[in-house]
Amino acid sequence: MFILRFVVAPIIAILGAIFVGLIIMGIDRILAARMQSRVGPPLRQPFWDVKKLMIKENIIPENAISWLFNAAPVICLAVVSTILLYLPLAGFSPILAAHGDLIVVVYLLILPALAKVIGGFASGSPFASVGAQREMVMMMSYEFPLAIIAVSVAWLLSKVHPSLDAFSLQAIATHPVWGLVKGPLGIVGLILLLVSLLVVTPGELSVIPFDLPDAPTEIVGGVLAEYSGRNYALFYLASAVKLVVLPSLLIAIFFPYGISGLFNVGAAAAGVIDVVFFLVKLFVILFFSVTCVHVLAARLKIDQLVNTYFMAMTAVSLVGLVLIVLDAAI
């Protein structure tokens, strides 16, 4: 039982997330191409990209601090995979539920960006340094709305069910937030929180319009400018897993519903139905908050980005928090 829970299940979760992430990346590229009236690459293109990067030469620049430079991609992929184990995926309880909650997830979400910052500074290239500075600024701006969302949801849960562990993601997922509020004020507050989490998602994934740390046309790939071969492939895989992690967090907080209860089927079939429905939710969220946005928008400047997150999104999520508190008070 111990081996099943702490060895087999994490391996399945991580490999599955890498697979799903790469597939979603392929779908995203095809859809973006179709929206620009292009044909787009085959669905398997991200797999071929990774396979190709694995055989390329792994260059370590002369100016780089080699051990930090090589460690950064490994840390990035490892941390992103670890976050996955704290999240309730497709109706299953988190694998590490007893060892961490929402606060750990919010903290761990900083680390992939931090790994990129370390890699950028360690590569000793001016482009990578600029990218790393931007990554840091961005990280500080989107962490604040994210923290407010986490606090609001936990406060709401602790108010309605004082006996539960309010920060536990499993408790949040089994008691959907929409059922905890009393009136329209609370619903509006939750919608505002949802909007701000939907805006934080593309920032965490650093896609256009929030791709300032990478900015290919501006600072030639930013933090990834000096990476090639296997190291770059690890960053590529980490960004694929991130595509699963962030929507999973959003699903766990706002849409933790399953549809297997509607069908009169056995436990195994219900599990399959839940997994499929989870993937559909994942895909829909990414379609609206990533694919559509990065086709429509152009890259923001760094001050516009900080204003978006630190001013606008913080204000939106704070108003959401205040509305929820008012809703509980009256």
Binding site: W48, K56, I59, P216, G221, L224, Y232
Partner: protein, 142 residues
């Protein structure tokens, strides 16, 4: 049984990443390759922002002595296996600048150009054909 190198090359053919070193009209004439008419991404080809990620170096247009130095540096920054493609008549013979004192007449005297694509400038179809052929060509060479 294909050799190890052949297997590697087959992987790269599926995902060719390109870095452009364009000096002159070659660039404006090759924009359609990225756009919706010819769409290079459907063959897995994308343009990379930095030479570190690239497999193919496109060199288009005439090279002056000064730009040649930069082209060499770009080539040195690329990761193995790497190839160079010369685009257009200018890289082959100097093109319409054949009698200028400061242009490079034949690029392969200075860089290991694997294949030239003739034309002034070449059609996008020719570029695609070259990208398919180039790795086959490299496989045959070694």
């Amino acid at each position: 049984m294909p050799s190890e190198k052949a297997i590697k090359m087959n992987r790269i053919i599926k995902a060719i990443w390109v870095f452009n070193w364009f000096n002159s009209c070659g660039f404006t004439e090759l924009i359609p390759v990225v756009g919706s008419r010819w769409d290079m991404e459907r063959f897995g080809m994308i343009i990379t922002p930095t030479p570190r990620h690239a497999d193919v170096l496109f060199i288009a247009g005439y090279q002056t002595w000064k730009s040649l130095e930069r082209a060499k540096r770009v080539y040195e920054q690329m990761a193995e296996p790497r190839v160079v493609l010369g685009l257009g008549a200018c890289t082959m013979s100097g093109g319409m600048y054949w009698d200028s004192y400061n242009t490079v007449k034949r690029l392969s005297d200075y860089l290991p150009v694997t294949m030239y694509i003739p034309g002034c400038p070449p059609r996008p179809e020719a570029v695609f054909e070259a990208c398919v052929k180039i790795f086959q060509h490299v496989k045959e060479l070694k």
